[in-house]
């Protein structure tokens, strides 16, 4: 058993000899436990020609091992009163089980088993190829998704954030069983993973089981570092998607910073000023925010929002919306630009900042009421560099000043730094 330390909020953080990082947080308010494993691999680790491979490997992790045959992983969790899922982002791939507290062992057995022993069977690869293409086709049906894909492809010329996590369809048609297996073996070693368990656990017992189950797994090769840097954008980029549809959509992305950059908190605050604090708390706070007032209340749009996802590499602030019937994309863009200019030229009032701070604090309090959300926060923060940011997140965000907001607005919200997309609906051919 490696050295460990308990720090902020009772998290126990230690590493096994094979490099697996473990974060444990006992919470005894409900007889529930949430077990997560995070791998540091996602869209950003993919090469042209095999985009979407991380997400596809995630699908294959439900196809079984010699011990857990195909179909048995989900069923076994369900029959123990649990739920599970997995998801892939640009920066990571995560799997979780939420279980009655006395069934945690099942989650540990599944995750340790598929970390080392997943079968990537050629026949299953063939059948999953059409499932994944079907998932992509479902996304393509959504005009906002199609516009998003075009905008990020225009924005990133070299960095892999320029493709959606699901990958290009052409690549999905070509990826082979060997590609998937190699990707799995390259990135699914314990040294590239973080195990996070939050809930009704007895720490000593759980540590013993983690040692027994994960300890024997070989560390494996070190994944190749991702070194691609996006060159600085020199001028505005614009895309227009014209296809049959019934509404017009707007999507502008301004390239901002990585999640660990000193500008990240001011950018998150800027996002909250534009469309309300959004920390997964389940209370919408956008209708008193700036974009709703400027675009929806004025009847130019039916929705308007800002979104910044802190990431390992520089990520954009997305500004999106749906144009109200009878109005135009040009009206939307002009009204949006006026709001962004206001952020650059007028300092935010202390009262408005105070409102957003309160929203942040409350949303955070709501979001950590479930053990699974706490585990997700810890894992997410660790993927971005350090889980301890979970403990200081609200304070760091609350410390952002009006001057800092104005500074990042001026720095990032420049025309030369943006990629703008219009979705123009045309009548379907009859």
């Amino acid at each position: 058993m490696g050295k460990s330390k308990a720090a902020g909020n009772g998290v126990i953080d230690y590493k096994l000899a094979n490099g697996l990082q473990v974060l444990l947080k006992p919470i005894h308010t409900a007889p529930v436990v949430s077990n997560w494993i995070w791998y540091r691999v996602g869209g950003r680790n993919e090469q042209p020609g095999t985009t979407g491979i991380s997400h596809w490997v995630e699908h294959m992790m439900f196809k079984g091992t010699p011990t857990h045959p195909k179909g048995s992983i989900m069923l076994e969790v369900n029959r123990n009163g649990g739920v599970l899922n997995g998801f892939t982002s640009q920066d990571f791939t995560a799997y979780f089980e939420i279980l009655p507290a006395d069934r945690l062992d099942l989650g540990l057995r599944i995750e340790s088993d598929r970390m080392a022993n997943s079968i990537i069977d050629p026949e299953e690869v063939t059948s999953e190829r059409t499932v994944i293409i079907s998932e992509r086709e479902g996304n393509e049906n959504n005009p906002e998704w199609a516009l998003h894909e075009e905008v990020v492809a225009a924005m990133y010329r070299v960095h892999p954030y320029g493709h959606m996590v699901i990958g290009w369809k052409e690549d999905l048609l070509n990826i082979t069983q060997d590609d998937l297996y190699q990707h799995y073996k390259r990135y699914y070693g314990p040294h590239n993973a973080v195990l996070v368990i939050v809930g009704d656990i007895e720490v000593d017992q759980v540590r013993l089981r983690i040692d027994e189950l994960f300890g024997p797994i070989s560390a494996g090769p070190t994944p190749p570092p991702m070194q691609i840097k996006e060159p600085r954008q020199q001028s505005e980029r614009r895309v227009v998607v014209r296809r049959p549809g019934t509404a017009s959509y707007f999507h502008a992305s301004y390239l901002a910073c990585e999640g660990t950059h000193e500008d990240a908190f001011p950018v998150i605050m800027l996002e909250a000023l534009l469309s309300g604090a959004n920390l997964g708390g389940g209370t919408p706070t956008h209708r008193s925010a700036r974009l709703y007032r400027a675009l929806v209340e004025t009847e130019i749009a039916t929705s308007a929002s800002a979104h910044y996802q802190p990431s390992i590499d520089p990520a954009p602030l997305h500004l999106t919306g749906t144009v109200r019937d009878g109005h135009t994309l040009a009206e939307f863009e002009a009204a949006l630009e006026a709001e962004l200019d206001r952020l650059i030229h007028e300092p935010v009032s202390e009262a408005e900042l105070a409102k957003v701070r309160k929203q942040v604090q409350a949303q955070f309090a709501y979001s950590i009421e479930r053990v699974s959300s706490q585990a997700q926060w810890l894992g997410l923060m660790e993927m971005l560099g350090d889980w301890r940011r979970f403990d200081t997140f609200v304070d760091d965000l609350s410390a952002v000043t009006a001057a800092q907001v104005q500074q990042v607005a001026e720095k990032y919200l420049q025309p030369a730094n943006r990629s703008v997309g219009w979705f123009e609906a045309v009548e379907p051919a009859s």
């Binding site: 079907s134 309160k358 479930r370």
Partner: protein
């Protein structure tokens, strides 16, 4: 497992249920009044939903903007919405802001201004939303499924949110009429969170409890719809799309039906367990035809639909329909296996602690218990209700509701197969 709570009765007849949960900083309020979209006159589809939304958009005390500023300043939320049978209201806040939440929520119910300006603003938004729906194969497949499954004169055949035909003609006077018919009789409020029962009762009695309209409560009874007598199909072709959505199903049981639990356990086997039950196993896992495929049963105060759904590649639509019908046939003809039955029961009972972890989950369960009058000891009895279901019960329920020959099938998206009926 036990779920303790306190029950109060407000002086206007609204029943109040309070569950204290001092582990959380938040408090959750969910309320229902009788009267939803089922009360929409046939030529005024969408009236309940439109009215509910406008009730949140300005009261005699605060404008829409003032409500937003006030509630969002403390990161709380209030809502009013309409379902088929019920009008929902409530919100969420930090426990320290509970009184403010109740004040705003009560104003929405007692003194909405239904401002003409907000009516028009919202009308444009609903019309845009409905136009967006016209471009959404999944949404359209579900909409047309209901339309063909229920008789045309039955309220269940109509969309709660209205149509592009109806919404432009709803007037403020229509909204006012709908609002003025609402009544506390039969109303229920559930509160869960870091508050005490007595405090909640005093706060709500002084506010919502004072609502005492003099008109009689609305008649919310809905006739039982006649089941399908022959298969019916809707095909909505959208050649510009990449994927086709299918919904195939029947009218299912009411929540209070004797065979509800048999159907509920059965549906878990048919379309939920693991990756979408037998349907997911066949359509997704074995054949790779879909990313999502499963079955749902929407049992409520009336007989909601029991249906199978899938999103598939346009070239595989007919094949997917055949697979789905094969699974329904098998489900009707053969008993489920011992293992399937044991798995479904273990899942449906084992998952209770997860459902009860959050204020939202507890509130939803308490509300279900009150709406359907399941009894105060429902949670204690629930495992027995599930474990009492036999293989034969499931087959009987399947044969009562499901059929592989008489069903409603809705297809929306690109289509190259053999169906020819246009919606």
């Amino acid at each position: 497992m036990n779920l303790e709570f306190a029950r109060y009765s407000l002086s206007n007849g609204i029943m109040l249920i309070v569950r204290e949960n001092h582990h959380a900083q938040s408090v959750m309020v969910r309320g229902y009044l009788r009267g939803g979209a089922n009360l929409d006159p046939p030529e005024k589809i969408g009236l309940a939903a439109f009215t509910a939304d406008v009730m949140r958009r300005g009261t005699e005390k605060r404008t829409f903007n003032e409500i937003n500023e006030t509630i969002e300043a403390v990161a709380a939320s209030v809502y009013v919405n309409a379902g088929r049978h019920l009008l929902g209201f409530g919100g969420k806040s930090l426990a320290v802001d509970f009184e403010l939440l109740v004040e705003l929520m009560t104003d929405n119910i007692l003194c909405p201004a239904l401002p003409a300006k907000e009516v028009e603003k919202l009308r444009g938004q609903i019309i845009t939303d409905l136009k967006e729906l016209e471009d959404d194969p999944g949404g359209l497949a579900r909409r047309y499924f209901r339309e063909i499954l229920y008789p045309p004169d039955h309220p269940y055949s109509r969309p709660v949110e209205g149509t592009l035909k109806s919404i432009p003609h709803l007037s403020r006077a229509d909204l006012l009429d709908f609002y003025q018919a609402l009544h506390p009789h039969g109303g229920i409020v559930v509160v869960v969170g870091d508050v005490t029962g007595e405090f909640v009762y005093q706060t709500l009695e002084a506010t919502l409890g004072q609502w005492a309209p003099t008109h009689p409560p609305p008649d919310t009874a809905v006739p039982l719809p006649a089941p399908l007598s022959e298969p019916i199909r809707s095909l909505h072709k959208m050649d510009n799309k990449s994927q086709t959505d299918l919904v195939l199903g029947h009218i299912g049981p009411q929540r209070v039906a004797d065979d509800f639990y048999a159907a509920y356990v059965g549906n878990t086997i048919l379309g939920q367990l693991g990756l979408g039950g037998r349907i997911g196993h066949s359509v997704r896992d074995n054949q790779g035809l879909a990313y999502y495929a499963g079955a749902s049963m929407l049992s409520g105060l009336g007989p909601g639909p029991w249906f199978v759904y899938a999103g598939v590649n346009p070239a595989a639509v007919d094949q997917a329909i055949e697979l789905i019908l094969t699974e329904i046939r098998r489900f009707n003809q053969e008993l489920v296996t011992d293992q399937e039955l044991a798995d479904a029961k273990a899942y449906l009972t084992g998952i209770l602690p997860l459902q009860m972890e959050s204020n939202e989950g507890i509130a939803a369960t308490l509300m279900e218990m009150q709406i359907y009058q399941l009894g105060d000891d429902f949670i204690t009895r629930y495992p027995d209700l599930i474990y009492a279901v036999t293989k034969e019960d499931i087959q009987a329920a399947a044969r009562t509701y499901l059929s592989d020959t008489v069903y409603a099938l809705s297809i929306a998206g690109p289509y190259q197969g053999t169906a020819s009926d246009e919606s």
